[in-house]
Symmetry: C2
Subunit: 173 residues, 2 copies
């Protein structure tokens, strides 16, 4: 069983990568979804972030990696939303075959795409965008990216990105 961990700065194209995986019937889970699911079931008054930390403190740092892996199926499984080198270590401690795939897009293009996407959590100013980047880097995301096993560049067209993502995933399954 191969575990593919997808990472990338906000707006780099992780969702598009997941949509390619979906089209190839590769199962995946978003760490954030797992956390939110447990959070809403718990009936706690803590917010999601506090709850995630509290569960880590009570049940072990790797609790969210464990809960993601309970969802694993098939020969290849994809996890999205892993931010820190410590989280990568959690996965590597639970299974042998972990591959980290990073998606890189220049800050300029990421900013433009986030504005176009206009999701509720999209930044409305460059300062907000930079603050969000800084927050992700504060978790150690840039270390995860810099030490990734594979890197896909997404500065070009969506079509080209889809082709490259497909090629990479095909070589892995």
């Amino acid at each position: 069983m191969k575990l593919i961990v997808v990472t990338g700065m906000p707006g780099s194209g992780k969702e598009e990568f997941l949509s390619v995986a979906r089209s190839m019937n590769i199962p995946f889970v978003r760490m954030g979804d797992v956390v939110r699911e447990y959070h809403s079931k718990s009936g706690t008054s803590m917010d999601v972030g506090e709850f995630a930390t509290s569960e880590r403190n009570t049940l072990g740092f790797n609790i969210w990696a464990k809960r993601c892996m309970e969802r694993m199926s098939g020969n290849v499984f994809l996890v999205d939303g892993c931010r820190s080198p410590e989280e990568i270590k959690s996965f590597k401690g639970l299974t042998d075959d972990v591959i980290v795939v990073a998606i890189h897009t220049s800050p300029k293009i990421r900013y433009e795409r986030l504005l176009l996407r206009a999701r509720s959590d999209a930044p409305s100013t460059v300062d907000e965008f930079n603050a969000r980047d800084a927050r992700e880097m504060g978790w150690g995301m840039s270390d995860v990216i810099s030490l990734s096993d594979e890197m896909i560049v997404n500065n070009d067209t969506l079509k080209k990105f889809h082709r490259n993502a497909k090629k990479l995933l095909k070589a892995m399954i």
Copy 2:
């Protein structure tokens, strides 16, 4: 005048990138060479690292960026050895047109290549290799990489890397 700042983890292929630039007659400077040059001229008893910091404290944080830029010539100029986001800011404060190019190679392949290269500063164990990576990331190098404008992946053959490097540089000059 366009300034291209090249970055990448140890063993990622920066030297090969510079050799491609050299073949295209693009002038370049290595920050480390500039520091070492000033260090040996100074006759100080400090080591190179201490001297670099002392000059920064006396003459301003951007002193090494300034001294690199004094070497600039032509329409396009390349700087190697920039480790931190603060150093990138120094360059951006001195000239408008700064492009950060990162080279990415997986840790596994970087380690193998460093062993093959067997330069005097090559790591002899995985622990040494990881410690060196950690040192570079401690300077903020992974933030520079993750926020780069361009990214070249160097997990394949040298020939392919040379071709991609040439293509990128051609588009810039």
